[in-house]
């Protein structure tokens, strides 16, 4: 029973909070408290009475009744009285689950309003849409709980006090605002991807990305982002070995990859690209699909990956994209073709503090037989590598060079 309720919580929390924010006229705290109380009541009642046929409707009605009670009790104050007057206090008709308006997209755009700083956007999204507790969010981002509590508090205050609207922005603002939503979701995903202890963030990001794509089916970049997350996440079980060390893409045990998830991610990516409005997320997803659908590393379609990186470098130029493009060229046409490109990137100096620049250069030099220079580059990479696992990997390579 507890598991069943936990499942309903994961699914329903954000929908009910979103509905309640609308119902209370933007009283974010009241909306969350009443939703929390409704779930607490469900935990008490359902084990005896069984889960109702329409659990979301039951929870929504319970939360609404709570809100009405609390506002009535507090309504001696003039300000609250005005709020009550503005609300429809007739007990709402008992809805069906399917009749509960889905206001999660409004909630998502409110959480990601550009007048909030990025930290606040991420914290508010996790709290309101993922239903994570402040303590959980604090743990995930390795900050003290007090800090995170203040961050969430300040974000909610600003939403209320600054007049940040609870709505999907009008069409003319949408192109400006959607990237922020996608950015926050991808940030969540990356936060979870780097650290197995934070895998829950990946699942939440994927779940929220599914919400966005379901609610905005005509936005190919949203689909591209979902596809990219699915494809990356599918390889998670093979990314580290028993000792926790990084396993390179080429050396990963492909039988550990989640094939169903790869199939789904690749299909979503293909559907998005067919709209011919390729954006950075779609192109990265297409690259991830090339890797994930190769039966063995040696049969990776490197020429296609080079083409995709070339397109990506055009629409979203960055030295990291240039570096990845050079790696792909090294695989498609050999290390001699790639070395001048990597040297050119090194000359700009932009990536000189980035260990993968040196590791890439080292690998290309090794493959052209310039062992001494390769060893120098491996040492430069070692000095900059951020984790023990990466340092172990580089030391092994250095020994073999």
């Amino acid at each position: 029973m507890k598991d069943r309720i936990a499942g309903i919580y994961a699914d329903g929390w954000s929908r009910i909070v979103a509905t309640m924010i609308r119902f209370t006229g933007g009283d974010w705290d009241l909306a969350e408290e009443c939703t929390q109380e409704a779930f607490a009541q469900a935990l008490q009642k359902w084990p005896e009475s069984g889960v109702p046929d329409q659990p979301l409707a039951w929870l929504t009605t319970t939360a609404r009744n709570r809100a009405i009670d609390r506002i009535r009790r507090a309504s001696t104050e003039a300000a609250k009285l005005r709020k009550v007057a503005a609300m429809d206090l007739e007990p709402p008709p008992y809805p069906n689950d399917s009749e509960i308006p889905d206001e999660r997209l409004e909630l998502m755009f409110t959480c990601c309003h550009p007048s909030l700083n990025l930290d606040a956007q991420v914290a508010l999204t996790l709290r309101s849409l993922a239903g994570m507790s402040t303590a959980e969010i604090a743990r995930a981002f390795l900050v003290p709980e007090r800090t995170m509590a203040q961050r969430v508090f300040r974000a909610k205050q600003k939403v209320a006090h600054a007049g940040i609207p609870f709505r999907v922005p009008p069409a003319h603002l949408l192109p400006d605002r959607l990237p922020a939503v996608l950015h926050v979701l991808y940030l969540l995903f990356n936060e979870g991807y780097g650290d197995p202890r934070k895998a829950r963030l990946c699942r939440e990001a994927i779940r929220l990305a599914r919400v966005v794509t379901a609610l905005m089916p005509d936005e190919p970049e949203a689909q591209g982002m979902l596809a990219l997350m699915l494809l990356h996440d599918a390889r998670r079980p093979a990314r580290t070995d028993a000792a926790g060390d990084v396993v390179t893409l080429a050396e990963q045990d492909r039988s550990l990859w989640d094939q169903a998830q790869i199939t789904e991610g690749a299909a979503i990516c293909e559907r998005a690209l067919r709209r011919r409005r390729a954006g950075p997320f779609q192109l990265q997803a297409a690259i991830a699909a090339c890797h994930a659908t190769a039966p063995v590393a040696a049969r990776t379609d490197w020429p296609q990956i080079v083409g995709l990186y070339t397109q990506l470098a055009r629409i979203a130029p960055s030295p990291i994209v240039d570096l990845n493009r050079a790696v792909a060229i090294g695989m498609a046409s050999g290390p001699e073709a790639a070395l001048p490109l990597v040297d050119a990137i090194a000359e700009t100096g932009q990536l000189n503090g980035y260990y993968l620049l040196h590791a890439t250069r080292a690998d290309l030099l090794r493959r052209t037989g310039r062992a001494q220079e390769a060893a120098d580059s491996y040492r430069a990479a070692l000095d900059l590598a951020p984790t023990d696992a990466e340092r172990r990997f580089l030391r092994d390579r250095l020994r073999l060079t």
């Binding site: 003039a78 300000a79 309003h113 007049g163 940040i164 609207p165």
Partner: protein, 113 residues
């Protein structure tokens, strides 16, 4: 919702050629006409400001603004907008959003403490 719109200069700004910044008279006429701009004015520079503090029941005066920065408040407007999105839209149509910067500060509502 009411917002105080502080119109600030930005000394680091160098105008580009024909950057298309709107005209302030047009902005005032438009926003007055819509009932969005309730009032507003230019202010004298910070060198003409006086800062007032009372400490130990004694009035202390400082010649100049409360914070010494290179950016200065050049004027203000009081806006009445539906929400922050509308206020941002109104602010971004003001020429000083192009040549300087604008701070939007929501009013504290009368009925809250």
């Amino acid at each position: 919702m009411k917002y105080l719109m502080l119109v600030c200069t930005d000394p680091s700004y160098t105008p580009g050629q024909d950057d298309g910044a709107p005209d302030v008279e047009d902005w005032v006429t438009e926003m007055d006409g819509k009932g969005i701009r309730l009032m507003g004015n230019r202010t004298r520079p910070a060198s003409d400001a006086t800062t007032v503090r009372v400490r130990n029941r004694e009035v202390l005066l400082t010649d100049g603004p409360y914070a010494e920065t290179k950016d200065q408040i050049a004027g203000f407007d009081i806006l009445d907008c539906a929400d922050l999105d509308e206020a941002i839209d109104v602010a971004s149509k003001h020429p000083m959003a192009w040549a300087g910067m604008i701070e939007l500060r929501p009013f504290w509502p009368d009925d809250e403490d």
